[in-house]
Amino acid sequence: MSEVVLSARDVTKVYRMGEVDVHALRGVTLELVAGELLVLLGASGSGKSTLLNILGGLDNPTAGKVMYQKQDLTAASDKALTLFRRAHVGFVFQFYNLIPSLTARENVALVTELADDPMTPEEALALVGLTERQDHFPSQLSGGEQQRVAIARAVAKRPKILLCDEPTGALDYKTGVKVLEVIEKVNLELGTTTAIITHNAPVAAMAQRVVALHDGRIQREELNEARVSASQIEW
């Protein structure tokens, strides 16, 4: 049986907006299995970003339980959550959050300097195919290349889990596919458990497992029998 790395049980999240309660998640149960590539699919407002934030320890659920291996994240202190994120989770967001005045290598080095068993910045950038561009500043890189630097930065500390929130959301089709290829490569070569959240249905074709969210609930969950490589995805 495959090892469950991260799990959510009956997770709900309610935001109070003035007088109104907004139910972002309504009893979501989900497991992330070691080494898998999962796509969380859903339209805007379906709760997928909220779920990803809770799984990554960036937010707490209103009710339910989130476990990282044997650690109960819902009972963890802020400090413990911070340590969990630092040690075990790499994040990739729609926008790249790179420091504009540092080169690609220097952006990645900020992470590798303090991690326990990191790759070198050069190794991380080679993994995402940016060896030739490591001394370039973000403004000298295309959007796709900046996202690949962000992926290099996220995986350089060798996290157990990689959480990607709309990683292709700001990119055109061609560069989007290139970014997905890099995420797929990280998953295959490093064995990093990976979750990609997207509203873009064709991206689901590259996943081992697809979970569709709608209105804060899991609408469907299926193993992808006809999985294709990221390079074959079209939208």
Binding site: L58, D59, D78, T82, R85, R86, A87, F91, F93, F95, Y96, N97, L98, I99, P100, S101, L102, E106, N107, L110, V111, E113, L114, A115, P138, A150, R153, K157
Partner: protein, 225 residues
Amino acid sequence: MKALLRGAWLVAAKDLRIELRTKEVTMTTSFFAVIVVLLSSLAFYLDRNVAAQVAPGVLWVSVAFAGLTSVLRSWGREREEDALRGLLLSPIPRASIFFGKLLGNLLFLFAVEIVVVALVALFFHLEPEPLLPTIALLLLGSFGFVAAGTLFGALSVQSRARDLVMSIVVFPLVTPALLGGVVATRELFAGATLPEVVAWIQILGAFDLVFVGAGYLLFDALLSD
């Protein structure tokens, strides 16, 4: 503790590296401080006696505004491309980010202070004796108000009302440090010795400890995700 110091050094080194490349903070704040000193000397210099009375105010006003401008610009860099989010998700402890930004801001300000003290001494024809203790006072005072500015300047990254944060929150908070600094400098220029202004030095020291401690304890909460 080792991770805290190492993280702080990484953040400070990052800011110093960026500053060496752009020279943005030191150039703009130095230029601002020089203009203040120059205009003040033209407006207020009547004779040596008046100059010694006016110079402490000119010195501290230019250093205070240059310092807070520098802090704001330093945090402004973290706002660009939402770089702060990347920093917060890195393995660098939050307190290290505070201490690193503080160290970087202090080094920028110390560079400006060297220029300002030299220009004030030149334009206001100051005697050399009180300059050394004045520099020590400036360093001590700068430490506290840069710590307060660094702590609450972080709020400016996430707030649209960033200028209001500085004028409503930071300026009133740093007033005791500025008052202490100005009065102690005035006394030194009037011929007092260091032991005679020790009470002001103690106030500045206490102010420094309060804001460095507050930064260590509150910074995480101020920057919660």
